[in-house]
């Protein structure tokens, strides 16, 4: 099992952002994506997660192997922490949410409505969702936003356990997580702006 990206080109809103991107991840490996704001990291991750089609190139991994975590955590404010996690566990067909609660130090908050959590606690709940998906490839978009130092360490441990269990992680982040991982700066793959009339996009529809 591996994740191989070959000569990938992606676009956001019809405008190409990255071109010619290739990398590969084997079981137990992590890759950190870096690059300035607006370079297309989120678009790249959304494309790999299967939310949008690439312009060109290939993504080898099956969508069914990928667990995606976006900027928004997908937390329902009126459900409790436990109900939120149980929902995702049921959707992914996995049963036990205890390791996820313990892994992100949420055990004391299980009965609290998620709307009453702090931003960092919400993020931890959002990341705990990854552990209940039971999927091997984690695709994470800025996972450490609003986490304090201790929570970042918890998160790094969770990723390390996941990698040790044969999982993979693709993480776009600006901070150093202290993981033993390859780093890929996507800046050199920036696509040049298309010339007028050069593309065959349906621009009338965008």
């Amino acid at each position: 099992m591996s994740l191989t990206i070959t000569d990938l080109a992606i676009a956001r809103g019809g405008i190409p952002v990255l071109r010619g991107l290739s990398f590969s991840l084997a079981a137990g490996e992590a890759l950190i994506l870096r690059g300035p704001n607006g370079i297309g990291k989120t678009t790249l991750l959304r494309t790999i997660a299967g939310l949008q089609p690439p312009l060109a190139g290939e993504i080898s991994a099956d969508r069914e192997l990928i667990a995606y975590a976006a900027h928004a955590d997908g937390i329902k404010a009126t459900l409790s922490v436990e109900e939120n996690l149980r929902f995702w566990a049921a959707i992914y067909g996995t049963g036990d949410i205890t390791p996820a609660l313990e892994g992100f130090d949420l055990t004391k908050l299980t009965d609290r409505p998620a709307g009453g959590l702090s931003a960092g606690q919400k993020r931890r709940l959002g990341l705990a969702r990854l552990m209940v998906t039971g999927r091997p490839i984690w695709v994470l978009d800025e996972p450490t936003v609003s986490l304090d130092v201790a929570s970042v360490a918890l998160f790094a441990q969770a990723v390390q356990r996941h990698l040790a269990g044969g999982g993979m992680a693709l993480i776009a982040t600006h901070i150093d997580l202290g993981l033993d991982a390859q780093v890929l700066d996507v800046t050199p793959f920036k696509a040049r702006a298309p010339l007028r009339g050069e593309d065959d996009f349906d621009e009338a529809f965008l």
Binding site: L51, Y68, A70, D73, G74, T78, I91, T133
Partner: protein, 218 residues
């Protein structure tokens, strides 16, 4: 899949879930119409089936933009699209949850509101039956409209305008069943057409809604 349905029902029933909004709107319409057109029982009895159907339809319309908007805002829709549930199942369950929280209460409350509108005695059975058969179509059509406008801030106006023409056939045949029922005429033809619309939309529209949603999530 059941988990998604249960979650949606739970969310609808908890604070800010909007359960009862449609019902309250239906109540307001049926309470106010007699004040507006006057207390003449004969007139009220004649327009009752149409007004009740119109009230139910508008009550349904009122809660449509909540179907996907909340899940889109907090990112759940993106995460759900990458989950093992097929998109067609997601939109079908969303429509079902909408019907259970909006359509079904309207069906159950309709006899009471019929009383407020002096609906003739023979009409109650047909009113309830026509609403029970017709409101699922309203939910499924509305889900399609909501999928089309997901991601638009304050997309409610566009949603209403898009869904309005789609609702017309359901309204025509639904109100016709109730009217004919109230007057003691044969109801088979409009009833069958109404059932046909409902079955057709339930069979076809989830595919359209799912396709539209996939495009909108890009």
């Amino acid at each position: 899949m059941i988990a998604l349905l249960i979650r949606d029902l739970k969310l609808a029933l908890r604070a800010g879930g909007g359960f009862g909004l449609g019902l309250a709107f239906f109540l307001i319409v049926t309470v106010l119409v007699p004040f507006a057109v006057g207390p003449e029982t004969g007139l009220l009895a004649r327009i009752a089936p149409g007004i009740l159907w119109l009230g139910a339809l508008l009550a349904c319309l009122l809660s449509l933009d909540r179907i996907f908007a909340l899940d889109w805002e907090d990112g759940t829709l993106d995460l759900m699209a990458t989950a093992p549930l097929p998109m067609e199942a997601i939109v079908t369950l969303k429509a079902l949850a909408h019907w259970l929280t909006t359509g079904l209460p309207l069906v159950l409350a309709a006899p009471l509101f019929g009383l407020l509108m002096s609906l003739p005695g023979e009409g109650y059975l047909w009113l309830v039956l026509s609403l029970a058969i017709g409101t699922p179509a309203l939910s499924v059509l509305g889900t399609f409209g909501a999928a089309l406008t997901v991601g638009l801030k304050r997309g409610g106006l566009l949603l209403s305008l898009l869904v309005l023409p789609l609702y017309v056939p359901t309204l025509i045949f639904g109100a016709e069943v109730a009217r004919r029922g109230a007057q003691g005429l044969a109801v088979e033809a409009p009833l069958l057409l109404l059932a046909g619309i409902t079955c057709g939309s339930i069979a076809l529209l989830p595919f359209a809604s799912a396709a539209v949603l996939r495009v909108n999530l890009r």
